[in-house]
């Protein structure tokens, strides 16, 4: 309490509530510890040699090395995009290391053989790697810095013909599938960060659900950046064949570091006829400190292709972390009657910046899409929704519904909405709704008057605001997301 009284520079309109909240701003990022583990890191800098080295370390086949090199050559000719509503100093791509791996070669078959330091790290993070947690029924792949360290439950899944492994393993073990689908949704020519990722991607997850199979458990990948001055470039590829179903969850954290770290992932997903893929993300990369120092630059390309008839792809994301987030999980609705959904909660506090949204590209007939975006801005942060709904000329009867709600928690933050709509078919129906609200002193007082402390009141209001999105998350992750939200917003009103 004493501390805030001194810090308050403009106490004139800060009520007692707001002061309590302000006090809580001191709460720190709780996943910020650094694991002291022996790593093998490639020297800083990016060149064809570095790419060959990464490829060699991963014992990749020639075609893969070639694809990386092609991507790199393309990238060199490109310019970093600056259209997003975010600001950051220039990134020196030669001052980053592009590969870091725990030195003890992780053995993928048994948890006992994983470096105990690593296991401890994941225990601290609350990630289910222990046998007991495994019984809870979530298969987990863990990517630590650049490599996948363990994939649980592989055997159970194998019986159903499901492949769930790191992308590196898939390149070795299932080259025909990787060749067929890698880059088929996000080609390396797509954008600057996708090209860079294609050149240097280190690891990530690979999921393949064969025809007619419903994956019996949630598949989950946990990403952790540990090493400093290392970029993380995961590559995830998910394929659901005809009539298949899978629900996939991705979580991420990083230690507290003063310098900014680059994270440029690519996620590609493909749904064939009657297939359904649910992709949920709880993104909690280190957001930087209260003064805006440090934090992850999260520049990610995520795209799903509903290739088949009646296929469905849903993106659900809860974005609380990163200094800068720049991502637009998108759906290409190619198959007739296919469905794309995007449910998003993006929270920014302190000096965080987020420019996020989606693209729904309607190509097939009677394709439908739903976009629900909830942006919460606090502190001095900036939160933008950017979305494109495009209806192609053959997309008869296509429909879209978009709802963008913004909630402001302070007078110094910003919320922006950039909806783009392109309709080339007369029969299409596109609806857009947008609201902006402020957490009101009257709402807080109402809840106070019923016995809730101010922080609990704010959490309740914010959770209510995000409810439509949380409803889309698997139960245990919804609980996780609510907790995360509470932590991210501690002390944010004022």
């Amino acid at each position: 309490m004493n501390e805030i009284k001194e810090k308050d520079k403009n106490p004139e309109d800060l009520s007692e509530d707001m002061k309590v909240l302000d006090d809580l701003t001191t709460s720190e990022y709780k996943w910020g510890f650094i694991t002291d583990i022996e790593t093998e890191t490639v020297p800083k800098g990016l060149s064809e040699d570095v790419i060959r080295l990464i490829s060699a370390k991963k014992h990749e086949p020639e075609w893969m090395t070639e694809w990386r090199l092609k991507s790199f050559r393309y990238w060199k000719k490109m310019e970093e995009p600056h259209w997003p509503n975010v600001q950051y100093p220039p990134i020196d791509y030669q001052d980053l290391s592009y590969y870091s791996a725990p030195r003890k070669k992780p053995l993928l078959n048994s948890l006992e053989e994983v470096d105990p330091e690593l296991l401890k790290t994941f225990e601290k993070l609350g990630i289910p790697l222990t046998e007991q947690k495994i019984l809870a029924g979530v298969a987990v792949d863990v990517v630590f810095d650049s490599v996948s360290v363990t994939t649980t439950f592989k055997e159970t899944l194998k019986e159903k013909g499901i492949i769930f492994c790191s992308i590196s393993e898939a390149i070795q073990g299932h080259p025909e599938l990787v060749k067929k689908y890698l880059g088929s949704v996000v080609p390396y020519t797509d954008n600057y960060f996708a090209a860079l990722n294609s050149a240097v991607f280190s690891d990530g997850s690979f999921v393949f659900i064969p025809k007619g199979v419903r994956c019996p458990m949630e598949l989950s990948t946990y990403f952790r950046i540990n090493a400093s001055e290392t970029g993380q470039f995961e590559r995830t590829l998910i394929v659901a064949e005809e009539g298949a179903y899978v629900s996939y969850l991705e979580g991420c954290t990083a230690p507290i570091r003063d310098n900014n770290q680059l994270h440029a992932a690519v996620v590609e997903i493909v749904a064939l006829d009657d297939a359904e893929i649910k992709y949920s993300t709880v993104q909690n990369w280190y957001p930087g400190n209260k003064e805006g120092k440090g934090g992850i630059y999260n520049f990610v390309t995520k795209r799903g292709a509903c290739r088949g008839r009646n296929s469905k792809i849903s993106w659900t994301q809860v974005e609380t972390g990163s200094a800068i987030t720049w991502k637009y999980p998108s759906c290409i609705l190619q198959g007739d009657n296919s469905i794309g959904e995007f449910y998003s909660v993006a929270v920014t506090n302190n000096y965080q910046q987020a420019d996020t949204g989606t693209k729904m590209i309607h190509l097939g007939k009677n394709t439908r899409s739903t976009i629900i975006s909830k942006g919460i801005s606090a502190g001095r942060s900036n939160n933008s929704y950017r979305g494109l709904v495009k209806i192609g000329k053959n997309a008869d009867g296509a429909r879209n519904f978009t709802q963008c709600d913004s909630m402001l928690m302070s007078d110094k933050c910003g919320a922006h909405t950039f909806p783009y709509i392109e309709v080339e078919n007369e029969s299409a129906k596109v609806e857009h709704e947008a609201t902006t609200s402020k957490v009101g002193a009257d709402q807080i007082f109402y809840l106070n008057q019923r016995g809730l402390a101010t922080e609990d009141a704010i959490n309740m209001i914010v959770n209510g605001f995000c409810k439509e999105v949380f409803n889309e998350l698997p139960m245990e992750f919804a609980v996780e997301a609510q907790k995360l939200l509470a932590i991210s917003l501690e002390g944010s009103v004022g």
């Binding site: 007082f445 109402y446 809840l447 008057q449 016995g451 209001i461 959770n463 209510g464």
Partner: protein
Amino acid sequence: MLTIKNLHATIEGKEILKGIDLEIKAGEVHAIMGPNGSGKSTLANIVAGNEAYEVTKGEIIFEGKELLEMNPEDRAREGVFLAFQYPVEIPGVSNATFLKTAINEIKKYHNQAELTPKEFLSLMKEKSKILGMEEALISRSVNVGFSGGEKKRNEILQMLMLNPKLALLDETDSGLDIDALKIVSNGVNLFKAKDNAVLVVTHYQRLLNYIQPDFVHVLYNGRIIKSGGKELALELEDKGYDWIKPELVESETVYRS
């Protein structure tokens, strides 16, 4: 139970309450009447701890405790309840979640066991039956899309659920139809007990037919200018406020002498 002494309060620099004295004992029902803008809601909000108002002078003692030193949630937990004149909407939060959280916060404060979901549900059923509230309203978001009357009923439902010591009902009767007025009044009468107290703010004597006050006070321009028994309400209904307005009463006196 509640003692208010020489209370002065301002909002945005404007003085609204200009010296209020009021004493409410356990088992009593008080009514406050007075023209629009006279400060009735202000008074109720200040007792409940709304920080939009600034108390410049005076004190409020509730059950021996100095209320002005307590934050609003602790006042609520100690047993002060305000049924709002304009209940607030909380989108996405169900009435049930909201009430369960509220009850359990209060229980926690008193070191009592929290209600189990089952106990909560049966309590909720029992109380909403008293008020004739549809079950659907309970799972809906707090006050969102509620009609004016439903909002008021919802306030009284909350009062019955939280079972406070002091209930401040700010124009709970406005917006209620004739039948609803009876139902809600019945709810308040069931709540009334020896060890609690009720303060109703109202413009209409009709409510006081159902909820019989022990005392009626007239608040005018930030001061209580007259207090009496329930017959005072009848008189006000009949004659309006002019006959007791101090400046008018005074000028009359001057004229006569």
